[in-house]
């Protein structure tokens, strides 16, 4: 009698488990349909997917290249992409910043950025630092996202750390958000996480905008350096350019 009850109970549990798995399968198949939908190819798309397919390539999870426009200081305010370093206790809005004598700007608080060999930040790409990450004098060598920038006579470089979450950027009605926790700077033989949010989830993620017609974007984030020789300093990153979806 006891064995019979146990068998019935087991059968009930298995039935519930099977039903739960069945639901998950439906959900995941729906997700796959959305991700593999080809715009304009209506004949091959399941009937359930059109309303969830992003109609605009600059909406939803953006996979592709955030091409970096070079920074420019000819105007009253810096344009394009740039970097600032906030002193401990300061703020991204008011500083105080470290003045970089190697900056091309009159206001040396800004260090201008230029596109690297990949053209910019590639979501879905491999942009890890090379090994070794530094030359003999401590200049950073990573050059895929941005070209190394001379800062205090030593070049800093940026890459994504494969050990952290893969970079991800979302767009909703022209507003960008995401996870750039893997973003890392290399300077003077030191490695500094410059992610947003930080790998432990603290801090804010990147913010920005994207033009729904042209793909022109701005992406800004701040990242507190925790530990190491720049403990307590904060990096301010501003990337600007044009997003191109992955083909």
């Amino acid at each position: 009698m006891k064995a019979t009850r146990s068998l019935i109970g087991l059968a009930a549990v298995l039935a519930l488990f099977g039903a739960a798995c069945g639901d998950d399968d439906k959900d995941s198949s729906g997700t796959t349909a959305v991700e593999t939908t080809v715009p304009g190819d209506e004949t091959t798309v399941p009937e359930t997917t059109p309303e969830t397919t992003p109609a605009n390539p600059y909406e939803g999870e953006l996979v592709g290249t955030f091409a970096v426009d070079a920074g420019d200081c000819t105007g009253a305010a810096p344009a394009g992409s740039y970097f600032q370093m906030v002193m401990p206790g300061g703020t991204a809005e008011a500083g105080p910043f470290i003045a970089n004598a190697d900056s091309a700007c009159t206001d040396t608080n800004y260090s201008l950025l230029e596109a690297g060999t990949d053209g910019g930040l590639v979501i879905g790409g491999d942009q890890a630092a090379p090994d070794p990450a530094f030359d003999a004098t401590g200049n950073g060598l990573a050059d895929k996202i941005i070209a190394p920038v001379t800062f205090f006579g030593v070049a800093f470089a940026a890459a994504t750390d494969p050990a952290e979450a893969a970079p991800m950027v979302m767009a909703a009605d022209g507003v960008l958000s995401g996870d750039l926790s893997a973003f890392t700077a290399y300077y003077g033989t030191g490695v500094f996480n410059q992610g947003a949010p930080k790998p432990d989830g603290s801090g804010d993620g990147p913010t920005g905008t994207i033009d729904l017609e042209t793909g022109h974007f701005t992406l800004t984030w701040t990242s507190l350096i925790v530990g190491g020789s720049f403990d307590g300093f904060t990096g301010v990153w501003h990337l600007e350019g044009t997003f191109t979806p992955q083909a």
């Binding site: 470290i98 003045a99 530094f134 004098t137 205090f152 033989t189």
Partner: protein, 320 residues
């Protein structure tokens, strides 16, 4: 030796052994000692004569460059294109470097002196058994002493004289006494104490932030000398060959950054580790944490191990 004295001795050694075993918990050694080990490991690359001399060499080169930076200002002003006040306004980072250099030099020199003066102490501490094992040096003998003491009590209750166990307990006590001598703790631990005392003023968050700030000043000054003031002097008809220390400073600067960067990182990342070690009992006391309990255990067990004397009272003849 009466049964009562044996029992009393065993209870006393049980207390001593238990005290030894739980001492690491009381002093949070399981958390703090490994942090001390991390600090010792992290400082290893910098506690060498070669590294300290290299750093001192950089400081001397910067000192010469700062002297020339002041001369460069005078020479530039003599060219007649700028006033001294204009120069200071145009090159605020150079002005700050020249103004702050004596403070920077003194403070950085003090750091290097402390590291230099403690190289022997550092080697002595590094030669001690792994910090990770420290708590177990208390726990293991403490547990053994407590276990033997319990065995003595149990056997005594059964009416047998636990002479053998007591002799083992006494030997254990002598081993605990000998341990500090074996590990040369009497000479090494005080050196560790000296190092902790000497490092205390430099292993603070404020001091680390000061050093970070010095490098902002140095980097800013170097950059303006190289990019701005030097070029302006040349544009005014001057020859930078007259300022060789400035060229040396700029040529060395990337290397200086690359070498000081990890040292500052080591200081910064070990402030908490240092404070954990500093919160442990004073290093010179460590040998006595073994000697005193060891002597107690050996003495008590040795005395109780003496041949039993005839019972002097009915209660001793028939222990409950």
């Amino acid at each position: 030796m009466s049964v009562r004295v044996q029992r009393w001795a065993a209870v006393a050694t049980l207390v001593v052994g238990t005290g030894l075993a739980i001492a690491p918990l009381a002093f949070q050694m399981f958390e703090r000692a490994p942090l001390g080990g991390d600090m010792i490991d992290d400082f290893q690359p910098y506690m060498t004569r070669l590294k300290i001399d290299t750093f001192r060499g950089y400081m001397a080169d910067i000192d010469a460059a700062v002297t020339e930076a002041a001369d460069l200002k005078d020479a530039t002003v003599e060219q007649g294109d700028v006033t001294a006040a204009d120069y200071d306004t145009s090159y605020v980072s150079i002005t700050k470097l020249v103004a702050d250099w004596n403070t920077i030099d003194a403070d950085m020199g003090d750091l290097l002196d402390r590291m230099d003066n403690n190289m022997g102490n550092y080697r002595a501490v590094a030669a001690l058994p792994s910090f990770d094992l420290f708590p177990w040096f208390f726990v293991m003998p403490g547990v053994i002493v407590a276990g033997l003491s319990i065995a003595v009590l149990v056997r005594g209750r059964k009416g047998a004289h636990p002479r053998g166990l007591l002799l083992v307990l006494a030997a254990m006590g002598l081993g605990i006494v000998a341990a500090p001598a074996i590990f040369q703790m009497f000479t090494r631990a005080p050196k560790g104490g000296e190092m902790i005392d000497s490092f205390r003023p430099m292993m603070t968050r404020q001091r680390v932030q000061n050093v970070q700030g010095y490098f902002v000043t140095l980097g800013g000054g170097e950059g303006q000398l190289r990019v701005g003031a030097g070029q302006a002097f040349v544009d005014g008809g001057g020859d930078l060959a007259d300022f060789p220390a400035l060229a040396t400073f700029s040529a060395e600067w990337p290397t200086i950054v690359g070498e000081f960067n990890p040292m500052i990182a080591t200081m910064s990342d070990n402030v908490d580790n240092f404070q954990a070690v500093d919160a442990m009992p004073s290093f010179p006391l460590f040998p006595w944490f073994f000697v005193i309990p060891g002597v107690l255990v050996a003495g008590l067990a040795g005395a109780a191990a003496r041949r039993p004397s005839p019972p002097t009272s009915p209660s001793e003849a028939h222990p409950s």
